[in-house]
């Protein structure tokens, strides 16, 4: 089985994550319930003829993928695999609203065309003239991990040697107002919001894109190797520990072999208990959290991966990400765990590039 090296990364998020640094400038939100992502200059990546039709998700996806490809020194990958929880929401809503408000008359096709879930992957391919394998996974909080798993399998078996894989989700007015209605999003008057000390249900929502170049070849830009990805549809809280232990055993590891655990706590008092269960397996391990910086969205784990890769490369955990005050040297193995409302559980295992 070939090793899977992560050689390039690109991240657009609520933080300024696209300029090559690692959280040098950070804005911690405690008062807003929906945060927009910070934008690079999209015109640097996309022609005016194309950009005029693009909603934010497509622009973020293209930009993030360009950063990743550039870093890895790849012009055209062999495959493009995208994950998105809600797809192209802005165009979906636009078209649907037009249908309803105009009683199905005078409908223009652009927003319909741009609303198909695989638009981001398709536009990236069009931009690059990449005729290779192109999949889009749309399954809530494991959309991105599905893309990673697919990429990992292809690299390991030697089927493909260079893959661009990523996750992207955008905020959108109507859908998020429905989410607010049913309590998925924090209520504005319930702040300040503390992801680590949740008192209320719901999460602060945001948007972003995280794209990664996965290759069978090690390079000077290599961050880490992707070792394994585990996905599970639904678990009770008392099943989390065995889910994690079984995953580690399959990879010939025990909990104490993990040097850093990255957790997807989002401040939802009703569901963050899952992470408490996970933590109990790692009493002496540095723990990292990130959704206080990224906000919650179906593919926010791509931001989590982005932080994990930097931690492995730099061999240190920035204070702002530390969930407990433990440290460890060297950092060789990182495990990420995420779930959303008790469903879409994922585990991602990374090794140091030299391991």
């Amino acid at each position: 089985m070939k090793k899977c090296y992560i050689n390039g990364i690109g991240c657009i998020s609520a933080q300024k994550t696209f300029d090559g640094g690692f959280l040098d400038e950070v804005e911690v939100n405690t008062t807003e319930v929906i945060i927009s992502a910070k934008n690079p200059d999209y015109k640097a990546f996309i022609s005016p003829g194309a950009i005029r039709r693009m909603a934010k998700g497509v622009k973020m996806g293209i930009a993030a993928s360009q950063y990743a490809l550039k870093e890895a020194g790849v012009v055209n990958p062999d495959a493009i695999i995208t994950g998105t929880g809600m797809g192209c929401l802005q165009d979906s809503e636009k078209f649907l609203k037009a249908i309803i408000d105009n009683q199905e008359q005078y409908l223009t096709p652009t927003s319909f065309i741009q609303s198909t879930h695989n638009t981001v992957g398709a536009q990236i391919a069009l931009n690059l003239q990449c005729k290779g394998y192109n999949f889009t996974y749309v399954n809530g909080a494991i959309s991105f991990e599905s893309a990673l798993l697919d990429a990992l399998l292809q690299i390991e078996t030697g089927e493909t040697s260079t893959i661009l894989a990523g996750g992207v989700d955008e905020t959108s007015g109507h859908t998020l107002s429905l989410y607010e209605l049913i309590g998925l999003i924090k209520k504005k008057d319930q702040g300040p919001f503390d992801v680590l000390d949740p008192k209320t249900p719901g999460a602060v929502f945001s948007e972003g894109a995280g794209f990664f170049v996965l290759e069978s070849q090690k390079k000077s830009t290599t961050y880490a190797t992707l070792e394994a990805v585990g996905i599970y549809n639904t678990l009770r809280q008392n099943e989390v520990a065995s889910f994690i232990e079984n995953f580690l055993t399959t990879n010939n590891l025990k909990p104490h072999d993990i040097d850093v655990v990255v957790l997807g706590n989002n401040g939802d008092v009703a569901f963050d208990g899952y992470y408490n269960e996970a933590e109990m397996l790692f009493p002496n391990t540095p723990l990292v959290y990130y959704k206080h910086l990224s906000g919650e969205y179906n593919t926010a784990t791509s931001f989590g991966l982005w932080t994990a890769l930097h931690i492995l490369k730099k061999q240190e955990i920035p204070q702002i990400l530390q969930k407990n005050q433990l440290t460890k040297q060297p950092i060789n193995r990182v495990l990420l765990y995420n779930q959303y409302r008790g469903k879409d559980h994922s585990l991602t295992l990374l090794n140091h590039a030299d391991l």
Binding site: K97, S115, A125, L126, V138, N139, H174, Y232, N233
Partner: protein, 398 residues
């Protein structure tokens, strides 16, 4: 066939039948399912025809014995209905005795509810449970929960090639040893959103669809759900399972030409077919029947026709599109046509490309217009979606 994966079960619901047997009889009797809509509340109800499943949501809920407070949109109703058949047909009694997953696909998801309740959600608390049913993944979760699957559940959404891609990914997970069994396929219900979307692209016909005909005017939208069960070799041996057919080849490529239109020379489609051949190890001449994507849009049929000629040269095997029977069922199309490909293999029969009168001016290609009995050992099935997504599956006799 070094990469073949066993297919041990299948299930389907479409406009020509609520199970495999009824679909088969419709195909051999030439009974198409393109009619006016009974359930869609659209201004186009008198001008357009659809491949509609003639069961209301209430009837489907009742057959599935769902509780009154369920939140299955129509896509999940259709999906669960077909998936249960597939599982039963594979003789699976204990769902999680070995690692078993579900890879479903959809483009509509819960859009039928989202469009129905767009504004009403704000005033009516009773229907708000459907808000969570909008996204594609949720329909897969609902089907998985209904089947009792605990494990890997995910969803592919690449427009009209979705189910082919779900099937492909399932096969790869079996071969990599990540799963012993996987239920793969797709479901899409009719919705006002898609009707108006396709209408705004001016690719719907106001008549019945006529694939590969020179005067073709566009497609009929349809709805359906279909699933097949893939199992590892060791599972088949251990349980002495009857293999319905093999998935022996698959390929996905991107046209990278335009967001909705296919390239004139069918490059993406050509690449997908070539990849499928490579995986299967089969020779071009070994294909006995092509179940074409054949949506009857001016663009697809020309592009696909060219691609078929690129790959097969002067020796194009018998081919047909079954979309005159079912309409274009979007994400489910490839799984519907997978079931039909398996039936072709089991019964040594090629289904007709109905409604065909005049060959396309540009190409020297004439589809099979009548039911044909002939030995069928290998079937190639194409499905192409928006975003240049081109997928090919090859099925082989067991």
């Amino acid at each position: 066939m070094p990469n073949k994966v066993a297919i041990t079960g299948m299930g389907i619901i479409s406009s020509i039948g609520n199970n495999v047997e009824v679909n088969f009889h419709a195909l051999i009797n030439g009974t198409t399912g393109i009619t006016k809509t009974d359930y869609l509340n659209t201004i186009h109800k008198d001008t357009l025809k659809f491949g509609e499943v003639k069961l209301s949501n209430q009837q489907l809920e009742s057959k599935l014995e769902l509780p009154t407070d369920h939140r299955f949109p129509r896509t999940s109703l259709l999906g669960a209905y077909a998936a249960v058949q597939a599982v039963e047909s594979a003789g699976i009694k204990n769902m999680n005795e070995v690692p078993t997953g579900l890879i479903s696909s959809t483009s509509v998801g819960g859009m039928d509810k989202t469009e129905e309740y767009f504004y009403e959600y704000f005033d009516n608390e009773a229907i708000r449970r459907f808000i969570l049913s909008h996204d594609a993944g949720e329909t897969s979760h609902q089907i998985a929960d209904y089947l009792g699957i605990k494990g890997l559940v995910t969803t592919v959404s690449t427009a009209c090639s979705s189910a082919a891609n779900a099937i492909m990914m399932g096969a790869r997970l079996i071969k990599a040893g990540k799963l012993e069994r996987v239920i793969v396929g797709g479901a899409d219900a009719l919705s006002i959103f898609t009707v108006n979307g396709f209408n705004s692209l001016m690719i719907l016909t106001d008549d019945v669809n006529t694939p590969f005909d020179d005067n073709r005017k566009g497609l009929n939208l349809g709805e359906a759900a279909a699933y097949i069960v893939l199992e590892s070799e060791s599972q088949v041996k251990k349980n002495n399972k009857k293999v319905l057919a093999y998935l022996s080849g698959y390929g996905n490529a991107n046209d990278a030409f335009h967001q909705t239109a296919s390239s004139e020379n069918g490059e993406g489609a050509t690449l997908a077919m070539q990849k499928a051949f490579k995986i299967s190890g089969l020779k071009i001449s070994e294909i006995d029947y092509i179940n074409a994507h054949g949506t009857a849009t001016p663009n697809n049929d020309l592009s696909e026709g060219r691609a078929i000629q690129n790959v097969f040269g002067k020796n194009v095997p018998v081919f047909s599109s079954t979309k005159p029977f079912t309409g274009h069922t979007l994400a489910a199309a490839a799984s519907v046509e997978a079931v039909y490909s398996i039936l072709a293999l089991q019964h040594n029969i090629v289904f007709p490309n109905k409604n065909f009168k005049t060959p396309m001016e540009e190409l020297d290609l004439i589809p099979q217009t009548s039911l044909l009995e002939k030995p069928v050992h290998h079937v190639l099935s194409n499905s192409f979606g928006f975003g240049g997504n081109c997928s090919t599956l090859i099925f082989s006799k067991s």
